[in-house]
């Protein structure tokens, strides 16, 4: 069966520090991968999506970037974190040709 992992689970970082969040998917090949951010008590905002290795599309201009170095690995990064980058970051996957997205457990990021 397919599983999706995210790490770390929680992270506290100072303003101006770099960021690297990792997402990996098991049990599927060539998935579409997504990064979302969720502010406290709010809905999900799509940040990036990827349909294949090295293929990244950004939904919202911001302080973050994404990379997909391997088929089942998706990384969210920042060179310098802002206070506004705090939130719950979710990775999701979908098998190409289907419609349902499945989410990982999330990473809680607090920028101080």
């Amino acid at each position: 069966s397919q599983t999706i992992h995210q790490w770390p689970a929680t992270l506290v970082q100072p303003v101006g520090s770099p960021l690297s969040l990792e997402c990996t998917v098991e049990g599927t090949s060539n998935p579409n991968l997504y990064w979302y951010r969720q502010a406290a008590g709010r809905g999900l905002q799509l940040l990036f999506y990827s349909v294949g290795i090295g293929q990244i599309s950004s939904e919202v201009p911001q302080n973050l970037s994404a990379s997909r170095p391997q088929d089942r690995q998706f990384i969210l990064s920042s060179k310098k974190l802002l206070l506004s980058d705090s939130g719950f970051y979710l990775c999701a996957w979908i098998t190409s040709g289907t419609d349902t997205q499945y989410f990982g457990p999330g990473t809680r990021l607090t920028v101080l």
Partner: protein, 116 residues
């Protein structure tokens, strides 16, 4: 712009009662809808989905109803249990695909609180 929203931010029910969570959508061309359940500190969990060629779909204790005339979606939970307490999101697939990817538009969410 296109949006998916929810009528009630918080819904409180007694254990054993039926719950109904509502959602309005604005894109009449949308073809696919999903309900997710999100417990505190966890990622959203898929509950049930429905396509626009259907008006009702049933799962285990859950039923999704789609009214395309008024662009309304609802999730019904039978015999609500304490474990059903969570935030529920509806999500809408925007068509046509852009760049070959599946884009979900999420509503703000409804918090369901189940009281013993």
């Amino acid at each position: 712009g296109e949006s998916v929203g929810l009528h009630l931010p918080t819904l409180s029910v007694q254990e054993g009662d039926n719950s109904i969570i509502n959602c309005a959508y604005s894109n009449s061309a949308s073809d696919y809808f999903i309900w997710y359940k999100q417990e505190s500190g966890k990622g959203p969990q898929f509950i049930i989905d429905i396509r626009s060629n259907m008006d009702k779909r049933q799962g285990q204790r859950v039923t999704v109803l789609l009214n395309k005339t008024v662009k309304h979606l609802s999730l019904q939970i039978a015999a609500t249990q304490p474990g059903d307490s969570a935030v529920y999101f509806c999500a809408e697939i925007h068509f046509p695909f852009s760049g070959g990817y599946n884009k979900l538009i999420f509503g703000a969410g409804t918090r369901l609180a189940v009281h013993p």
